[in-house]
Symmetry: C3
Subunit: 208 residues, 3 copies
């Protein structure tokens, strides 16, 4: 096993902060989707979380540019940061679109996606924070396998939701445009989580 | 010229397997598009091919993470693997959407795309397998030029198909949503083939 | 501070040519959007600019593959080239779609986007050309901050435009399909500019 130097520790601090921010976003997303109505106030709260994510992402990139020694390969740090940023950007984009499209009461499908996304980000938090100590590799791999499983489930839910959408009798094309985009964006959040999990696995393989 | 060590040979074995799997996918896609009707059975067959592709992709990434010496730059190996994966993912997504959208009898445009895709993947197979021996660089470059030509053709067919779609008298917006997405996805398969060809060319330039 | 060798200078020449080509594209786009009607002739002119961009991009990649010594990290050169290429590809795609969709008279929203895009590319030209001398880092950072500001403005304009689109009484779904795609693509041009600016900032941080 390897130990890290104080300067390298800064990366773990930033990763932990970012993945905690992701969980704030995923928890807020569940809350928004499950409440009786989407409010401007909650959309603004998601915007704040996205803004914190941007700042943390900039901080990670700057730390990387200024560091000669890094705990993992530079490209893994960058890919980790970018894909965590994608998770929160997508959650913000989705929340904002519900509001813009005046879909103030999300349906059953959205609730399923919100549950999968929150579950995936919870597993992601365990996987990303474990990178620091790297003592329980088996446990980390288990979280990554779970994130993969959740992504596959999200694929199925998206396919079912889109099938249902187009099978509605006398479908309203504008409702199709809105919901199709949202279902696909919701599924893509689990894709970004999977990308982060894949990078975590790569880091473990390379450093053991 | 250079020779490779036994361990490096593993990458060529995996690339050959992946590009053969891509050709299986492209041939199946042509078959599906040209048969009288899309069946659940054929969609499942494409899903199997996509699953094989995922396994091979994971295998390439793991081999890369465990290898100290690689036949080419690590980022080229990763980009090659990712873009080959994109080809098969897109073919699976397209086949699945035809089924979900209940478009069981693809039209003339789909047949044109299927032909271009199969031609492009056939050229890609020659280009990718040639990386191993690298004896006939001129021939490989010719295949890459052909893949570029096919991608340009696919652009034209997409533009014509979308123009026609919107010019239909009394167009059905739902048919526009379905077909526009499929035409764009079909064209994107030739883009991914072009990306693979560009990486092959980069590898040749760097290693000669 | 650092000085560059003659061979490295070739990269700056190519970056300068590419960013000037981008400005040609952005200026032509403003002209097209603000003229009374989009013409086939102007679409062809944009296609020529896109073709020049492709050639320059290939030239940058080939120079990179053939160079042992580069003025910056190889991945930064590649990311710079790819994102500049994305700007011009998107401008060509948008112009072409206006024509295909027979939207010959763009509206107020398109004029706002064209203005933001041209402003962003003007700032980008200053930032990219400054990489050569690197004497006025503060000025370069100011341009990058401006590009970020313009991207945020483009986000707001896109959200307003899409809100308005869906709020139209008795909306035509086909018009929604067309305009939604164009607004999102126009906003994405400012995203690509921001990506280039972020890479310029990274290069400055790493090399100072």
């Amino acid at each position: 096993m390897f130990t890290f130097m104080p300067k390298e520790m800064k990366f773990f601090d930033l990763f932990d902060k970012q993945v905690s921010n992701l969980l704030d976003g995923a928890v807020l997303f569940s809350k928004i989707i499950n409440e009786p109505a989407i409010t401007r106030d909650n959309v603004d709260k998601m915007h704040d979380i996205e803004h914190i994510g941007d700042e943390l992402n900039h901080n990670i990139v700057n730390t990387l540019n200024e560091s000669f020694i890094t705990p993992f390969d530079r490209e893994d740090i960058l890919a980790l940061a970018n894909n965590m940023d994608n998770v929160i950007d997508a959650l913000h984009m989705i929340t904002n679109r519900y509001y813009i499209y005046q879909l103030f009461t999300p349906g059953e499908e959205a609730k399923k996606f919100a549950f999968l996304i929150e579950s995936s980000v919870r597993a992601l938090k365990k996987a990303v924070t474990s990178l620091r100590s790297n003592k329980n590799m088996k446990e980390t791999i288990k979280e990554c396998v779970e994130i993969n499983r959740l992504e596959n489930l999200a694929d199925e839910i998206r396919d079912e939701a889109i099938t249902k959408l187009f099978k509605t009798p006398n479908p309203d094309p504008i409702m199709i445009i809105k919901h199709k985009e949202l279902y696909e964006a919701e599924e893509s959040v689990t894709d970004y989580c999977e990308h982060v999990a894949n990078i975590v696995e790569s880091i473990l393989v390379k450093n053991n």
